[in-house]
């Protein structure tokens, strides 16, 4: 029995081995494929996709070539790292099995580090050069860690320990890579060791001077600062600058890499010869010479740079009327450590481009051609005109290109000059003669290759239609239009070729567009990573792509923009996973880095203007304001992404001698999931003395909805409920009972903003309009009823290249209705709710909030119910790139009512304030990253005169009720000169 068992087993083994020996691949050739399987069963592609792309099909004959093609096809998808195929004979044919190994793709890159910035985790992720969505191989990690290591070493972490952790996401074939960095302590600079390239010579800069130039020393305290890459770079640049200032333009300064073996900075300096660059034959400021000759900027001297300097100088002088200028340079050999570069300028006669004429143009008018030209005849802005030989040639080319891009292939443009134009020796004329030729048109447009995508709308609006102008420019724009359509619909590999047959005799062209559409790609799924506190729903509501959509780069970019707009992500990276893979459904990846949830901002500032003068109750001097200084501090704390819903809670406070304010607000973006609506709820406490007449305390709650109608148009819907109390009133005591009462105001308002400026901080062109309409009514809980309308229109126009003409007009009216009996009949609006004006942003002829009606006894401003201001500014460069000048004229005032609005220049008497104040002045703007620093000096042509009271408030009260000793008025006037200092343009 046992023997039979053994024999049987051995026989089966032998038989199987024999069968195995016979199962060589060639035996399967031609047999029907009975089954196709995959190992593992879970594949990176869906079964339907695999079936569609696999050349091998069930019930088809087995062919080695088909197996090979199947492997190629699967691998080309990019989803596989390795593929083997085995086959076995089964009843009826052959069973084929694909044995696969997945590839992986890069997902989130994170860095966990104990080092302080720099470098930050973001910087370290960036130098790792592991791009989201790209194929991942473990070999890449070594190079990535080396890059991070180099970055850390260059930032003073000389002995970092770097390791990594990989987390595999099998669902989306992603690998999340976390680099763990232990940097240790940052090294500090030390006293540098200086090696000199010319040891025998007297040093240009001493070791001490070089050490100081690096600015590696701590500020005030002894010792050196920590090593960082940017400090090392700027240290070397500073040393080089020192040499440059000593005319050592060829100085070389090099720092040996700092690392653990070499912690002491070793700087090698070679000052090179003294290079003196001078210009003879013409007066030229040193700064201008430095700007025109690029050797200064490039810190080296070579032929190309010197030649460029010649050309720059030539253009410079030609643009100033020296049209015949010749510029040559001569470089002397180095003698005694010195070399001179002498630019010899022969100016020639100064000319004026008096006349510029263009003839032969019929298709384009002269204005259209002129606006594209560099040459400009003499004008207010260009006293000598603008001309250079090179520019004349360029303008010929420009005009010719303009014509060619509009089908005039045979256009010829010539120009000539005429000296002593109209007998005047210094005058010069240029004549452009245009021979347009015949315009070429498209006789026939053929479009081939459009099969999968319906782009008929695009095709119908092409510029190269039959009968239209034929030009390469039009073809380029047609190409862009067509390719954009394909790109937006997932045809990432579409290509566009074009061919033409030109009939020069008939001026016709046959155009053929050939489009290779390629395969259309779709979104397989949208994968977001990197969220920890943000609710996934908030992110998914921003997605403009979903599974099955065509893979559109535009939709991806729109999603990225919407995610950034939430304001809760520091970084939003997007990519298509496996971009080079040959598969038509791809994952779209968004890797999000949540911003730090808390931000704390502190600031300090100051205001210096006519805001001072006595605030004491006992002293009523200076109703017009004396020069004063008000320091200010602010503190803001914001909690972003509150509850993970993208909302923000913030606390803002400001403290100065004129104001104490605290506000808490809650911001909800995309409220009720409406993309264009945001909401803001806030409560506020404010104690301010910005109007010198009174101190106002305000407690307010408000709700605001913001509608982003379009890019330039925003609408605000607001409801405010506030309680305002006034104290320290400096007015006629008889008015106190009416005006001193606190008042509750409930006001609903609507504010429309249209902003078409090119730059909101410092605009150069565009328009800016606002309209604010508010309604205070008892139904809103208001104790006082009025309507407020305030409109503003500002326009900005360029004059020439650098001058801007800016103007702004403001108009406001505030009629009251249902007036209570205890209100001021002259102006029933409560004091704090009135219009106030005057100051740096409205009327620079009067101090801040000092425009308009005044108390007839004390002279302090009372505000009004109507306002009109018009400001005009001419903004121009003054000195260098950052200092601009402004001349301005302000006109306008606050009026007691709309009916009293007047353009009258003269003030009738000391009780009349309903006239138009005018002021003119000059300002300086210094450009900073946060906006221009502004200083304005204004001269008021007709400042208001008014009666003040020279005494204390107690004395005012006594004399106001006295018959025998009435109050004595002291005639005063707002000073003619006003000054303002702040940040930001006036408007």
């Amino acid at each position: 029995m046992r023997q039979r068992y053994a024999t049987c087993a051995i026989a089966i083994c032998l038989l199987s081995l024999a069968l195995h020996a016979q199962d060589s691949p060639a035996r399967f050739e031609g047999l029907p494929v009975v089954a196709i399987a995959f190992d593992p069963a879970s594949q990176p592609l869906e079964l339907a996709d695999i079936t569609a792309l696999l050349p091998l099909q069930q019930n088809q004959p087995y062919q080695a070539a088909v197996i090979r093609a199947s492997i190629e096809r699967l691998y080309a998808t990019g989803r596989y790292k390795d593929i083997q195929v085995d086959a076995s004979a089964v009843p009826g044919g052959v069973a084929v099995r694909f044995l696969t190994k997945n590839s992986w793709f890069i997902g989130d890159i994170a860095v966990e580090t104990n080092t302080s910035d720099p470098p930050g985790p973001g910087q370290m992720s960036s130098v790792a050069r592991l791009d989201l969505g790209m194929p991942f191989d473990e070999d890449q990690l070594a190079a990535a860690e080396e890059n991070i290591r180099k970055l850390l070493v260059s930032n003073g972490y000389f002995t970092p320990k770097i390791s990594h952790r990989l987390d595999y996401d099998t669902a989306f074939q992603q690998v999340m890579i976390t680099f763990i960095v232990e940097g240790g302590k940052r090294s500090h600079y030390q006293l540098p060791v200086i090696t000199r390239g010319n040891p025998g010579e007297t040093p240009v800069l001493s070791d001490n001077a070089i050490d100081k130039a690096t600015k590696w020393h701590r500020f005030v305290m002894p010792g050196y600062r920590g090593v960082t890459q940017s400090r090392s770079r700027s240290g070397i640049d500073n040393i080089r600058l020192k040499y440059q200032n000593a005319n050592r333009l060829r100085a070389t300064v090099a720092l040996e890499s700092l690392n653990s073996q070499n912690p002491v900075p070793r700087i090698t300096v070679n000052p090179g010869p003294v290079v003196e660059v001078k210009a003879t034959g013409a007066r030229l400021r040193r700064n201008t010479l430095k700007q025109q000759i690029p050797v200064f900027e490039e810190h080296t001297v070579d032929e190309d740079l010197l030649t460029e300097g010649s050309n720059n100088l030539r253009d410079y002088f030609q643009s100033r009327g020296y049209f015949e200028v010749e510029v040559d340079y001569e470089q002397q050999d180095v003698r005694n450590g010195r070399t001179e570069i002498d630019y010899q300028i022969t100016l020639g006669r100064r000319h004026r481009l008096a006349h510029l004429e263009i003839t032969g143009n019929r298709y384009f008018n002269t204005a259209t051609i002129r606006e594209r030209m560099y040459l400009i005849p003499a004008s207010f802005e260009f006293r000598q005109g603008r001309y250079s030989e090179a520019s004349r040639r360029r303008d010929e080319q420009t005009i010719a290109e303009l014509y060619r891009s509009n089908g005039f292939r045979d256009v010829e443009v010539k120009s000539r000059t005429e000296d002593n134009f109209r007998g005047k020796e210094s005058d010069f004329a240029v004549f452009f003669e245009i021979a347009e030729g015949t315009q070429y048109t498209v006789e026939l447009l053929r479009i081939e290759g459009v099969k999968k995508l319906d782009i008929s709308k695009t095709l119908n609006s092409l510029s190269s239609q039959t009968g239209q102008i034929f030009s390469e420019f039009n073809i380029a724009s047609d190409r862009e239009a067509i390719m954009q359509q394909y790109g937006e619909h997932g045809f990432a590999n579409a290509t566009f070729d074009w061919d033409t047959k030109i009939d020069a005799a008939r001026h016709k062209a046959e155009v053929t567009f050939t489009i290779h559409e390629g395969e259309q790609e779709f979104v397989r799924d949208v994968v977001t990573t990197g969220l920890s506190t943000t609710r996934p729903g908030l992110v998914s509501r921003q997605l403009t792509l979903s599974a099955g959509d065509p893979l559109s780069p535009g939709a991806m970019a729109e999603t990225q923009r919407r995610l950034y707009d939430l304001g809760i992500f520091a970084q939003v990276d997007m990519a298509v996973q496996n971009p080079d893979g040959d598969e038509n459904r791809k994952y779209v990846l968004f890797n999000l880095e949540e911003a730090r949830r808390y931000s704390i901002t502190g600031g300090f500032g100051a205001e210096f203007a006519r805001i001072g003068g006595s605030n004491a109750v006992t002293d009523l001097s200076d109703p017009g304001g004396a020069a004063g200084f008000s320091p200010r501090v602010s503190l803001d704390v914001t909690r972003l992404n509150f509850l993970g819903a993208g909302q923000s809670l913030s606390f803002r406070s400001r403290l100065s001698t004129l104001q104490k304010r605290a506000a808490v607000s809650y911001f909800v973006p995309r409220v009720f999931s409406l993309a264009k609506f945001d909401a803001n709820l806030s409560i506020l406490y404010d104690d301010t003395h910005d109007v010198r007449t009174f101190q106002a305390k305000r407690e307010e709650a408000s709700a605001q909805f913001v509608q982003h109608v379009s890019k330039p148009i925003t609408v605000f819907y607001r409801f405010n409920y506030r309680n305002v109390g006034v104290s320290n009133l400096k007015i006629d005591p008889l008015l106190l009972p009416r005006l001193a009462q606190s008042v509750r105001v409930g006001i609903a308002s609507f504010n429309l903003v249209q902003d078409r400026r090119d730059d909101p901080v410092d605009p150069h062109k565009g328009i800016y309009n606002t309209l604010d309409v508010g309604w205070a009514n008892r139904y809103f809980g208001s104790q006082t009823s009025f309507v407020r309308v305030l409109a503003r229109n500002a326009t900005y126009h360029r004059i020439g290249e650098k001058i801007v003409l800016a103007r702004e007009t403001q108009f406001g009216v505030e009629p009251a209705y249902r007036i209570p009996s205890n209100s001021d009949p002259s102006d029933p609006i409560p004091l704090p709710e009135r219009f106030y004006g005057g100051g740096g942003n409205t009327q620079r002829g009067v101090p801040e909030n000092q425009a308009g009606p005044r108390d007839t006894l004390t002279g302090f401003p009372l505000g009004g119910s109507a306002l009109f201001f018009n400001n005009t500014e001419l903004r121009f460069p003054l000195y260098g790139a950052n200092i601009n000048g402004v001349i301005f004229e302000d006109a306008g005032n606050i009026y007691s009512s709309l009916g009293n609005l007047s353009f009258r220049y003269q003030q009738r008497d000391v009780k009349d304030f309903n006239y138009m104040v005018h002021a003119a002045g000059f300002g300086i703007r210094y450009r900073t990253p946060v906006g221009p620093l502004r200083f304005d000096l204004a001269y008021s042509l007709n400042p208001p005169k008014y009666n003040g009271f020279a005494g204390s408030y107690v004395q005012l009260v006594q004399c106001s009720v006295s018959v025998t000793n009435p109050c004595q008025a002291a005639l005063q006037q707002i000073s003619h000169f006003q000054f303002f200092f702040s940040i930001g343009q006036a408007f």
Binding site: R2, Y5, A6, C8, A9, I10, I12, C13, L15, S16, L17, L19, H20, D23, S24, P25, A26, F28, A64, A65, I67, R68, I71, E72, Y75, A76, G78, D82, I83, Q84, V85, D86, A87, S88, A89, V90, V96, R97, T495, H516, D580, G581, D582
Partner: protein, 208 residues
């Protein structure tokens, strides 16, 4: 003892069932998103041997050489696909095979098939190879030849080197120079493509 016999039997059955599956093909090399399978290397060796009228060599050195040629071939094929270079149509392929048969077997296709079968090849394999060569020549002509410039000086130098009259042999000299330079440009291009594309030797034996 009985237990041991049972285990032996079980082992025999398992051996029998797994013994049926044989690896028929696998990836040997990947070049960018293209692959060269083991069977393709084998096929290359057979085709080369057939066209040379020699016995196929399956030594490691021969396989490595074939693999390197295939890498270059794949890079060119990908470029042709991306750049939409024209490929030979089915009629052209059939004509190539027919011409080959005319040249080597006096048009006797069955005889050609028998010769191919002796090398483990089919007429389809030969047709594919001939078409590939034709496409390569077409690619060379469209991509590299137009950029080749042959100056008068080059022709004079070539005539002198070949000791022939320039006037008489100008066209042939020019053709030869263009061909040589185009080939050199192709080689340089292939070298550049090898640097740009990741080439992985999954079959480590084939790695250089």
């Amino acid at each position: 003892m009985l237990r041991n016999l049972r285990n032996l039997t079980l082992l025999a059955f398992l051996t029998a069932s797994n013994a049926g599956a044989v690896i028929v093909d696998r990836i040997a090399i990947s070049a960018g998103n293209r692959v060269i399978t083991a069977s393709e290397v084998d096929l290359r060796l057979r085709l080369t041997a057939f066209q040379n009228g020699a016995q196929p060599e399956f030594t490691l050195a021969a396989r490595r050489q074939a693999a390197e040629r295939l890498i270059d071939q794949k890079l060119v094929e990908r470029e042709m696909e991306v750049g939409h270079y024209p490929r030979l149509n089915p009629e052209g392929r059939a004509q190539l095979l027919q011409d080959y048969a005319e040249q080597y077997t006096q048009g006797d296709l069955p005889s050609l098939e028998r010769s191919l079968a002796a090398y483990g090849l089919t007429t389809r394999d030969l047709e594919d190879d001939l078409a590939r060569q034709s496409d390569l020549l077409s690619f060379l002509g469209l991509r590299f030849r137009p950029a080749v410039q042959v100056t008068e000086e080059d022709l004079q130098k070539s005539a002198a080197e070949n000791q022939v009259s320039l006037a008489e042999f100008r066209a042939r000299l020019e053709q030869k120079l263009v061909a040589v330079r185009a080939d050199a440009d192709l080689d340089a291009w292939v070298k550049e493509q090898r640097k740009r594309n990741r080439i992985q030797y999954l079959d480590k034996d084939l790695a250089p």
